[in-house]
Point group: C2
Chain length 734, copies 2
C-alpha cells in the first residue's frame, strides 16, 4: 500500500465521471450480471469504462466519453436548448464542435446526461439508487485539485472576486454554484456601504437611530432589486435564460393516471394540480405546528433564563444560568430535525412533478422553521420582554415553585419589587446572533467536518491495521463487510485511487444550504440591525471569510457537484424580498419603541408607548417601503443590464439579416411601383375602352375601382378637384 512509482495524484487521468457500484447486498451472480449490464449500457451510449476496486463491497467504474460521442451529445443538448429558446442562434453542426473548447461544466453536464437521461431522450437511463439501478450508489465527477488549490491561494490575497473569477467558478462547477458565489460576492460588495454608514451611525447616533433605520431599509430594497437585475444579467451572460423550461421529471413522482395528450399524442403521467393544492393545504397546520412547537420551546427557555438571571438569587446561580442555554441548544435542533422530517414527508406527499418544484416547496416549508429558530428569540426580547416584562415577570413565580427549597422567602420578595428590565439585553442578543453565532456557524460548517473527516480516515486506517493483525480471530462485528481489503492497485495508480476512494465517501453538496445561511444572515440585517448598527460591519468581515471557506468546503468536504444549470437563486429571492419587507415593519417598531431612551419608566421599560402611535408608524413605514420599492423596481427595469443588451443586439442582428434576405428576395421579382400602371399608350387606349364597357356591367365595387387606373389618373382627378375648390375660394376672396 506504499506509494511507489511517481504519477501526479492531482491529475484526474482524463476521468470524466466515477460510478460507484455496490455489490454488498446482492447475490454474487446477480451482482455480476447487473455489472455487465451496467457496463454494456454505458458503452452503448459511447462511454469508455475502466473498473477498479472501491471499498470492500463496491467497485469504482471510471467513465470517459469518446470525443465523437461527446461532440454529438453536446450538439444534441444545444439543439434542445435552441428549441427551448435558451440559445438564440442555431447551434453549429456536431462536427464543428471541439469538445476541448467547451467549458468543463458543459462537458460534465452533457456526460452526466448521457449517463442518466432516459433512453428515449438519448441517454443510458441510469438512475442511481433507484429501481433497476439501485446498486449504482453514486455518479460524480472528480475534483480538479490543482485548479482548486490555485484559486484558494489567489483569492486569499484579494478582497473581491472579479467577474472573470465568477465565470471560472461557473465553468468549473456549473451555473447553480456560480449563482451562489455571484450572490455572495454581490452581497459582500453591497455590504461596504451599510458597514461604513452603520459604523458612523453607531459612533455618532448610537442604536435605534431613525436615520440608520431608513437608510438600512432603502439599502435592502436596492440590494434585492439590484440582485434581481443581476440575475437577469448573469442569465444572459451564462446563457441560461429560461433554463427551467428543460426540466427532467422527478423519479419519485407518482402519476395518478396516464393521459394521452390529444395534440402531441404523447402518453404521460399526470397528477392533477387541484389535488396537489389540496394536499398543500396541509402546509397551514404544519406552519402552525412548527411555530407553536418551536415557539413554546424558545419562549419557555427564555422565561427560565429571565427568571434565573434576574429574579433568582438562590444558590448555584452561577451554574444555573447555563440551564436555558443548554436546553435551547438541545431542544431546538432536535425539534427542528423532527419538523424538517415532517416537512420532507409532507413534501413527498405533495408529489411534485419536477425536482425544481420539489425543492422550491421544501425550501418554503423549511423556511418557516428557520425563521422561528433564527428570529423568534430576538422578537421575544424586543416585543414581549421589554414592553410587557413588568406585567409578565410576576407570573414567572411558577418556576419559583420548583426552586423553592433553595430560596428564602424574604429574599425573593425583596428581589421581585426590585425587578429591572435589562435594557442592554436586546442589544446583547443581537450581538450574539450577528457576531458570535456567525463565527460558531462558520466553524461548525467548515472546520469541524474537516477535522471529523481526517479523524475518521485515521480511525479507519488504524482499524484496518488492527483487523489485519486480528484476522482469523473470528471477530464478527461486521460479518457482511470484511474489514481487511487488500487493494490490488497498479503501483502508479495508488495515489490516484486512494484519493478517489476518499472522495467517494464524502457527502453530496447542496447549494441551497449555503444560500439559506446567507438569507438568514440578511434577515438579521433587515430586521434588527437598527438595534446595533455595527451588524453590517460584522457581516462584512464574516462574508469575506465565508466566501473562501465555502469554496474550501466544496473542494474538500464534499464530492464535486455535478454541474447544474440554473437561472436564479430560486425561492431564496422571494425570501430576501419578504425579509426586507418585514424589516420595514420591525425597524419602525424598534425605532419608535426604543429611540427615546430618556423616557424609560422605573423598571426600565419605555413608558409612553402608545398603541395607536406604534401602529401608525408601522403603517407609514410599511407603505412608504412598498411605494419606494415599486419606484425602485420600475426604475431598475428601465436600466437594461449589459449582457441583456448584448443579447438583444445579437437577436436583433439575426432578425435583421433574415428580414433583409426575405425583403431582397421579394424586391427581385417585382417592381411594385409600376404594378398598377399602364405599360404603353396603345394598350392604355384599349383598356380604357374595356373599362368603360365594364363600368356598365360588373358589380359596384369593381365599377368603383375601375374609374381611375393607376396613381397618375388618381392624381389627375385629385388635381382637378383641388383646382376647382381652391379657385372657387380664390374667386370668392377676390
Amino acid at each position: 500500500m506504499a506509494t511507489t512509482s511517481e504519477t501526479n495524484a492531482g491529475s484526474n487521468l482524463q476521468v470524466d465521471f466515477v460510478v460507484q457500484y455496490s455489490f454488498g447486498d446482492v447475490d454474487q451472480p446477480k451482482a455480476i450480471e447487473q455489472l455487465q449490464k451496467l457496463l454494456q449500457t454505458l458503452a452503448g451510449v459511447g462511454l469508455q469504462t475502466e473498473v477498479r476496486q472501491g471499498d470492500e463491497a463496491s467497485l469504482l467504474i471510471f467513465v470517459r466519453a469518446s470525443k465523437n460521442q461527446l461532440k454529438r451529445a453536446v450538439y444534441r443538448s444545444r439543439v434542445r436548448d435552441w428549441l427551448y429558446g435558451i440559445r438564440h442562434a442555431e447551434p453549429e453542426p456536431a462536427d464543428a464542435i471541439d469538445p476541448d473548447n467547451e467549458t468543463e461544466a458543459e462537458r460534465l453536464r452533457v456526460i452526466e446526461h448521457m449517463i442518466t437521461l432516459p433512453t428515449h431522450e438519448g441517454g443510458a437511463g441510469i438512475t442511481p439508487q433507484h429501481g433497476e439501478w439501485k446498486n449504482v450508489m453514486a455518479v460524480f465527477p472528480l475534483h480538479d485539485q490543482e485548479t482548486n488549490g490555485q484559486w484558494m491561494r489567489e483569492w486569499s490575497q484579494k478582497t473581491f472576486l472579479s467577474e472573470d473569477d465568477l465565470d471560472q467558478i461557473r465553468n468549473k462547477f456549473g451555473e447553480s454554484v456560480g449563482f451562489y458565489f455571484s450572490f455572495l460576492q454581490a452581497y459582500f460588495r453591497f455590504l461596504i456601504f451599510p458597514a461604513v454608514f452603520g459604523f458612523g451611525c453607531w459612533f455618532l447616533l448610537g442604536g435605534y437611530s431613525i436615520i440608520y433605520a431608513i437608510v438600512n431599509s432603502l439599502w435592502c430594497i436596492i440590494f434585492v432589486e439590484y440582485w434581481k437585475r443581476q440575475e437577469v444579467d448573469l442569465r444572459c451572460r451564462w446563457q441560461t435564460k429560461g433554463v427551467s423550461a428543460v426540466q427532467t421529471k422527478r423519479r419519485q413522482f407518482k402519476p395518478e393516471k396516464e393521459v394521452r395528450d390529444e395534440s402531441t399524442g404523447e402518453v404521460r403521467g399526470v397528477f392533477p394540480a387541484t389535488k396537489r393544492m389540496q394536499r398543500q393545504l396541509l402546509q397551514i397546520p404544519f406552519a402552525l405546528l412548527a411555530a407553536t412547537a418551536l415557539g413554546v420551546i424558545i419562549a419557555t427557555c427564555f422565561a427560565i433564563e429571565i427568571f434565573i438571571a434576574e429574579l433568582y438569587n438562590g444558590p448555584l446561580k452561577s451554574y444555573l444560568v447555563f440551564i436555558p442555554t443548554i436546553l435551547v441548544s438541545a431542544l431546538v435542533p432536535t425539534m427542528s430535525a423532527v419538523l424538517v422530517s415532517i416537512a420532507t414527508k409532507l413534501n413527498d406527499y405533495e408529489n411534485h412533478e419536477t425536482n425544481d418544484a420539489y425543492d422550491v416547496a421544501l425550501t418554503q416549508k423549511v423556511f418557516v422553521i428557520n425563521f422561528m429558530t433564527s428570529y423568534l428569540p430576538v422578537f421575544l426580547t424586543a416585543f414581549v420582554y421589554v414592553p410587557f416584562a413588568s406585567r409578565i415577570v410576576p407570573y414567572l413565580d411558577v418556576f419559583r415553585l420548583t426552586v423553592r427549597p433553595f430560596v428564602s422567602k424574604e429574599h425573593s420578595n425583596a428581589k421581585r419589587s426590585n425587578f429591572q428590565i435589562d435594557p442592554a439585553r436586546l442589544r446583547n442578543q443581537v450581538i450574539y446572533f450577528t457576531v458570535t453565532a456567525q463565527i460558531v456557524g462558520l466553524a461548525m460548517e467548515t472546520v469541524v467536518p474537516y477535522i471529523k473527516q481526517h479523524a475518521f480516515r485515521k480511525y479507519k486506517a488504524y482499524n484496518k491495521k488492527r483487523n489485519g493483525k486480528a484476522e482469523g480471530n473470528g471477530e464478527k462485528d461486521s460479518p457482511e463487510r470484511p474489514l481487511h481489503v487488500v487493494f490490488d492497485d497498479p503501483a502508479e495508480e495508488v495515489k490516484f485511487l486512494t484519493r478517489v476512494r476518499n472522495e467517494v465517501e464524502l457527502p453530496e453538496y447542496e447549494v441551497t444550504d449555503d444560500l439559506r445561511e446567507m438569507c438568514i444572515q440578511f434577515g438579521y440585517l433587515a430586521l434588527f440591525s437598527p438595534v446595533w448598527p455595527l451588524v453590517p460591519c460584522s457581516f462584512f468581515a464574516n462574508n469575506w471569510v465565508e466566501l473562501r471557506s465555502d469554496f474550501f468546503k466544496i473542494c474538500n468536504e464534499f464530492r464535486r457537484p455535478t454541474p447544474l444549470r440554473s437561472d436564479t437563486i430560486g425561492p431564496w429571492l422571494d425570501t430576501l424580498g419578504f425579509l426586507s419587507w418585514t424589516g420595514s415593519i420591525t425597524s419602525a417598531a424598534l425605532v419608535y419603541m426604543f429611540s427615546g431612551n430618556a423616557q424609560q419608566g422605573p423598571n426600565g421599560e419605555p413608558t409612553d408607548i402608545k398603541g395607536w402611535a406604534l401602529l401608525l408608524s408601522i403603517f407609514f413605514s410599511e407603505h412608504l417601503y412598498l411605494a419606494i420599492q415599486y419606484v425602485v423596481q420600475v426604475s431598475m427595469i428601465k436600466l437594461e443590464p449589459t449582457n441583456a443588451r448584448k443579447e438583444r443586439a445579437e437577436r436583433y442582428l439575426m432578425r435583421k439579416r433574415y428580414l433583409e434576405s426575405t425583403l431582397s428576395a421579394q424586391n427581385d421579382d417585382e417592381t411594385p411601383a409600376n404594378a398598377f400602371e399602364v405599360p404603353g399608350l396603345s394598350r392604355a387606349a384599349l383598356e380604357e375602352e374595356a373599362r368603360q364597357s365594364t363600368l356598365q356591367e360588373t358589380d359596384p365595387a369593381e365599377r368603383f375601382w375601375m374609374r381611375q387606373q393607376g396613381w397618375k389618373e388618381s392624381a389627375q382627378v385629385g388635381t382637378g378637384i383641388i383646382q376647382a375648390q381652391t379657385s372657387g375660394t380664390t374667386k370668392k376672396q377676390q
Copy 2:
C-alpha cells in the same frame, strides 16, 4: 345630391383604407405636387388608389391592396412575428397565403403597416399629421355596417357573449378592442356572484357587514388573478404573446444623441434612461399638486354643502342647496382638464421612445386625477365627516360670515347645538356614485354624442342650403372654406360617399377611456361596497348595457379603429390590483367604524372608535389580504390555461420532430455500442500487444485507460473483484 341608382350603401366597395388629404391651408401647386407624391408613394408599395372629393378642403383617397402585394406584406409581417417569437411555427411561404382566409384585423393591420411603416421597414412611410405628410389628416378603415348591425341585434338578445363572439370582435377590431370586450365580459360574468351574495347580505345583514366585506375582498383578489390568467389564455389564443416586443418608435421622440450600436452597427437615436427618470421625478410634485388642487375644491364644496344642508337655516335654503353641486360640477371638470393638460405636457417632456411606454406613463398620471375625483368625496364622508364632524363643523362658521345678513343670530346658535351627523349620508353618497352617476355616465358617453352628431349634421345641411341661397351676398364669415360644396359624385356612389364623409368627421376611438371607466367602477366595488351591498347588483345591470352601448359607440360615434395588437389591458391591470388592495384597508376601516350602529354618540358619530383598534384591524386585514393574494396567485399559476397548454403542446411537437430527426440522423452513421469493442480476435491479439507496449511509454492517463479495452474486459475485471470479495466474505461467514 339626391340618391338615384340603387347600390348597397352598407358595403365598403372593397375599400381597405381611406386617406383624408387636406389641401385647405397650402398653396394650390404645392398641394397638387404633394398629392401626386402621396399617390405615387402609395402605388409604390403596391396599393391601388381612387380619389374622390371630401369636404370643401379635402380629398378622400380610397386605398385597396393588390392581392399579391398583400400576400407579401402578410408574409413579411409573419416572418417578423416569428423572429420576435410571437409565432411559433415558421410562416408558410407568401404564395401559400390566401389573404381572404386571414382575419380582417390582420389584413387591415398589415395594410396600415404598408402605409405607415418607414420605408426601410418595407412601408410607404406616411406619417399622418406629421412632418412631410402633415396634410394627410387621417388614415382609417371603414365600418362594416352590415356586420355591426347584425351583432347588435344578436347581442341584445343574450346575456353573455360567447368565446366565439369575442373572437369575432377581435377579428374585426383587433386584439386591443378584443381585450377590452373580453375584460368587460369576464367582469360582467364575475359580478353575478357578488350581486347575488350582496343582495342576500343586504337583505339579511344590512350594510357594514363583516361577512360581506371579507367575501368582497376575496372576490376582488380572485377576479384580478383570474383576469391575469385569462390574459395569458387570450394571448395564446390570439397569438399575441410578447407582441409588445415589436414596437414602433414614437414619431415625437427626440433622441438626445445618435449612437452607433457596436454590435449591430445600427445608428439609432438614444435618450438616456437615467435622464428620463430624473424628468419623471416631476410626477411627485404633479401628484401632490393634483391631489391638493382637487382636494381643496372637493373639500370646500363638501364643507359648503354640509353647512347649507345641516347648519344653515336662513332664507332661500331650498335653492342654496344646489350651490355646492353646481360648484363641483363646474370646478372639478375644469380643474381636471387643466391637470390632464399638465400631465400630457409632463409626459411629452419625459420623451418616451415608444407609443406603449408613452400611454402607460400618461395613464399613471391621469389615474391620480381620476382617483381623486372619483373616490375623494366618499373618503371625506367616511373618514373625515363622520368621525370628526362634531369637531370640524363649528369651524364652518366661516361661511356664516358670508350669509350673516340672512340668518338671525339666535336661530343659528340654536341650530349649532342641535347639529346631528347624518348617518345615511355615506350610504346615499355611495348610492349616488354607483347608481345615479353610472346611469348619467352612460348617457353622457353614448346618447348625448349621438344626438349631438345628428344635430350637427342637420345643422350643416341646413347651413349649406342657406348658404346656397345666400351665395354671392359676400358673406365672409369663413372666407377660407366656402360652404357651398357641390359634390360631383357618380350617382351610384352618392350614398357610399355620404357615409364615408360622415365617418371622416368622427373622432378617433381610444380603448383606454373605456377601460378607465370600468376600472373606476371596479374601484367603488372594492373600496366602498360594504357600505351598501347592493353595489354589485347595480353594476351587474349597468354592465349588461355598457357592453352593448360601448359596441354601439364604437360603431356609430367613432371612426373604425385601426386594429392594434395587444397582449394585455395594460397599466389598468396594475390599477385593478392597487384598488383591490386599497379595498382591503378601507373595508376594514369602514366595518370597524360603522358596523356597531348601536354605539353612536349623541351627535350621531360613533363614539368608541379607538385609534389602535382601528389601525390594528387595518393592519390585520391588509396583511391577511396580501397573504391570501399570494396563495391565490401561486395556485393560479399552477392551473395552466387551456390555450397556453395547447400552445405548449404545439411547441413540444415541433421540438420533438426536430430532435427526432437529429437523433435518427446520428444513429444512422454509427453504432456506438460497438465503438470501443474489438472487432475480431486476431486484431484483438494484435492490439493487446500494442497496448502492452504502450503501457510502458505513454502518459499516465493513456496507460490508465489502456488497461481494459471495451466494456467486456471491464466486466471481466469487475467480476473478478466481486468474486474475490464476496467469496472472501462467504469464507469468513462460514
